[in-house]
Symmetry: C3
């Protein structure tokens, strides 16, 4: 198994699924493009997708850079925490946005960890893997 590729692909598919939920909410709550406001449930679904986009853009390069300096299974495990965190975030946000904190921390935490864990070895020019 190519651990990092697998986690990246699952993160992409999870993100696309959140996007499909936005499309469905657009239909269900009658939000006509280009509007992105006007219905609280629609806005929640949209914010889940946007917040996931905000993290994904940093997560994916973070995973691949980290995999140059650390063993792939460890890097993929950090990415797996992100995947679980996003599920918790989504579940919380659509029911009670104020309770999204745990899922948010479990998904932004791995992004920070990946970037910080690679910074020193990258600055020192050491690839340990």
């Amino acid at each position: 198994m190519n651990y990092v590729d697998a986690v990246v692909l699952l993160a992409i598919l999870q993100y696309l699924a959140f996007g499909l939920l936005v499309g469905r909410a657009r239909g269900r709550y009658g939000i006509k493009a280009p509007a992105v406001t006007g219905s609280e449930p629609f806005e929640r679904a949209y914010r889940v997708q946007m917040n996931t986009l905000e993290l994904l853009v940093a997560l994916i390069p973070g995973l691949y850079v980290a995999a140059r300096y650390w063993p792939a299974p460890y890097v993929a495990a950090v990415g797996a925490i992100y995947l679980v965190g996003r599920v918790l975030y989504w579940r919380a946000y659509v029911t009670a946005p104020a309770r999204r904190e745990l899922g948010f921390r479990l998904s932004i935490g791995p992004v920070f960890v990946l970037a910080l864990a690679s910074l020193v070895p990258a600055l020192m020019g050491k690839g340990t893997v």
Copy 2:
């Protein structure tokens, strides 16, 4: 020709061009930063850029991961469909947002195809190229 790199660069330049159109619309319709609403034509240009951003973040890693498992010309061909789909999407959105469906499908479809086509070989640990 490095097919995948070429498609990635064209996708980036296309996306930056959509961004320039948003900047131009900001001036033309008098939408002062930080506002992103207040003019339907501006909002349409902005949504084209945002929707392209939403796909690009998944398309680019999808292309590179797929290129590890499938021949580069095939992967690039899927990316080329995305590029055409985005042009159709943009043309439709700025004139009649309700008709953006075909362009949307032709551009999100390739993103799904790339991620799904790589998932099984990544999970099985096989790089065929």
Copy 3:
């Protein structure tokens, strides 16, 4: 030092820092999720993060693709200009959005340069490094 990795990681961390400022502004100005409007200072912080996201999605692949065709220190230097441009953009946007032009140009310029500088060698299939 792995120049390109280092610049990518710094760009990710800078972007995450802008995201933390949005979270802080959300608390300080009482903007409850899923709203992203209702306070000018909040909207400025949010637009800095969003605009950085818009560039980052093109910058990171642009850096790695360019590093296949040009020497890494030059590529990283272009990325460093982006990092400085983003700081200027952020400083200007939160105080006087109308003055954000210089920082914007210094950060979108490198993104264009990276994509354009790689396009011809990618189309010709030449990796010079």
